[in-house]
Subunit: 461 residues, 2 copies
Amino acid sequence: MSAVSPVLDRLDKNLDQSLERLFGLLSIKSISTDPTYAADCRKAAEWLVADLKLIGFDASVRDTSGHPMVVAHHDGPAGSPHVLFYGHYDVQPVDPIELWESDPFAPAIKEVEPGHKVITGRGSADDKGQLMTFVEACRAWKQVHGSLPCRVTILFEGEEESGSPSLKPFLEANADELKADFALVCDTGMWDRDTPSICVGLRGLVGEEITVKAADRDLHSGLYGGAAANPIRILTRVLADIHDKDGHITIPGFYDGVEETPSQILKSWETLGETAETFLGPVGLSIPSGEKGRSVLELTWARPTAEFNGIIGGYTGKGFKTVIAAEASAKVSFRLVHKQDPKKIRAAFQTFVKERIPADCSVEFHAHGGSPAIQLSYDSPFLAKAKNALSDEWPKPAVTTGSGGSIPVVGDFQTYLGMESLLVGFGLDDDRIHSPNEKYELNSFHKGQRSWARILDALTR
Amino acid sequence: MSAVSPVLDRLDKNLDQSLERLFGLLSIKSISTDPTYAADCRKAAEWLVADLKLIGFDASVRDTSGHPMVVAHHDGPAGSPHVLFYGHYDVQPVDPIELWESDPFAPAIKEVEPGHKVITGRGSADDKGQLMTFVEACRAWKQVHGSLPCRVTILFEGEEESGSPSLKPFLEANADELKADFALVCDTGMWDRDTPSICVGLRGLVGEEITVKAADRDLHSGLYGGAAANPIRILTRVLADIHDKDGHITIPGFYDGVEETPSQILKSWETLGETAETFLGPVGLSIPSGEKGRSVLELTWARPTAEFNGIIGGYTGKGFKTVIAAEASAKVSFRLVHKQDPKKIRAAFQTFVKERIPADCSVEFHAHGGSPAIQLSYDSPFLAKAKNALSDEWPKPAVTTGSGGSIPVVGDFQTYLGMESLLVGFGLDDDRIHSPNEKYELNSFHKGQRSWARILDALTR
């Protein structure tokens, strides 16, 4: 018999107690963005420290200039990997409270249809319910085997819903203590109810605001039109030049570091059944706008983009004004993948723009953020092990996905701890996180615990 | 001896009295945009009617729903042309009053340097001083010859500085009474202190606002970027496509009706010494932005343009927001020349835009104004006669110029009275019209009167 089987049995048996514990944590109003609830945030941190100590972790509340962190350590067998598990105990505000069908801080089990139960309450899915799946897996393993299968460090933050101001300094100050072989992050979702997913790619971001300046004042377009440079014309020319007719980005060097996604990964994405219609239909669109010949999942998970997030120039009020503006500006962002270098992308873009500015005009740049993409190797042994473990637990095999956006903590782990992250979570798209009537599937909570037990087992074999 | 010589002598002799009369008109606070001065506007109209009656005109104040018009008629010899002279008796407000060196409604002669005198006061150049040059020419002619050399109708409006709301309905209602062989409009300027000018081309205008609509809501550029259509990208593509690299406008059919300016006209413009540096330097630019190989004067006087007067879309506040907007819009205007048809231009532009909108997106159009260009034939005999007359009066020969902007009354004369206009005026660029310390050169007032006498003489020979 494998080491994990009795742990899975124990998790099945312990489900009611694990729910009681979760309800205890869910009833704490740890809304991080509202200073009124600062004491509740600390209470949640203390609750977690006490619970982790019961399991046998060396756990403590660690003060920051904001809400405290929870850090906990547990040894593992010599030679086993060292994992850092990350979650957050803070929650979103509950407004508008009148739309909640029950008290957001009085968690309950609700049977939405026969045999289909959910856990209701603020934080049930984001992220208290998710982080407790890992804690329960550790507890059961310890109960059954008297130890954990590998060395585990836990980091719970209390400011994820309010911009994580303390995270970077805390990671920097405690890098030696927190650095592990890799991180496990439980703050994402399943592909669907039956299909677990591991997110291995998160796009990076470079934001740049450009302001084109022409005449030293606004001009009358009758008197000067045809002679004087129009900054909106220059700006639209620059922006239009960025994409060719097939949606490729034309900035020299832009694709340096971009890799082709392995064909078996692309094939696995094809099996997910996501099409341009299913992806874009809900927002009223139907035609992918990016590089031709690539699926919407590849476009959003594994390809870089140039997007224009804002543009303004000249007269924008009601009616008309025959003006040639003195300046016009745009906010441009690039989503990066793989090994694209934010600094090189920014420099290449600036050069691209400058080459298109007439000699009697000028351009100013303002940088807004720059972070590289996160990309776990598709052939990482940890990934393969975790996928197999998840596939053993759920009705359908686990899929490797990407994410078009970024999850800052993953980049911070890379930057400050030099550590990759495996993103595994059990949320569903309809969990209503950040909204009234947040819920977490009872199935997610139960099979999530079992999934972590399987993953811990797999990672150490 | 010609008929005009004694009239010119009389004008020289009458200069002081003509100044007294002008001062009388200038002292009336006929600020049309401010209802406080409605009675002053009527007073100015009545003053003009009284003065025209003294000359022998059949003159009357004609009520409108706004400030009144002045209409006056005087017969001419059988077979002589019938001219309609236009000017406006209303003036701009005087704010900021504290910047005036003297009372704007206490006109005076000021010697700015030895031998160089100006008439100071609101309306001195725009347009009371100018319209009185014509009235004085008629008065002197009548005094000398007991008649006028041609049939003259005069129209003075009192709402030019406040949008001329009554002009179109008045022209329409009184078309039979006002229609003449052509109009003389005295509301423009000289090329320079020594060089009179006749403006024969005024560009037309088509304004169009376009709004590109993509998704039915704003999207997160991380989650949707690369898949969802971005309306700013579509809009900038559309706008960038309008000009080719040589500044030509690529909209099919756009140049239909555009004529090449005769080479002798282009040569005469070359002699004016206006260069890209002299034209654009004062506003901080130096490189003509329009069709390559054409001078700034040709570009602004005789070539059509497409200008982008405003653009807005997405997030335009401080900082950055990674949004893909639901829509983006731009205000586009076309300056038209010669026989370009505003309706066809608008339709061609709409087609051009629609062809560039992806099938899952849409575009909306909002029309803002449409008027054809005004172009007097370069070989009109009236033009040649008027040019010769002006050349006889001033140190340098008269030049035929264009104007990049439009003067609405000229279009209205064309539309409602089917009549071309000859634009002759004696203002200078430094007259500070619409600003504090407006002035009119004493020389402009005196030689302007003489110029009109010569023009009336020339037109009837």
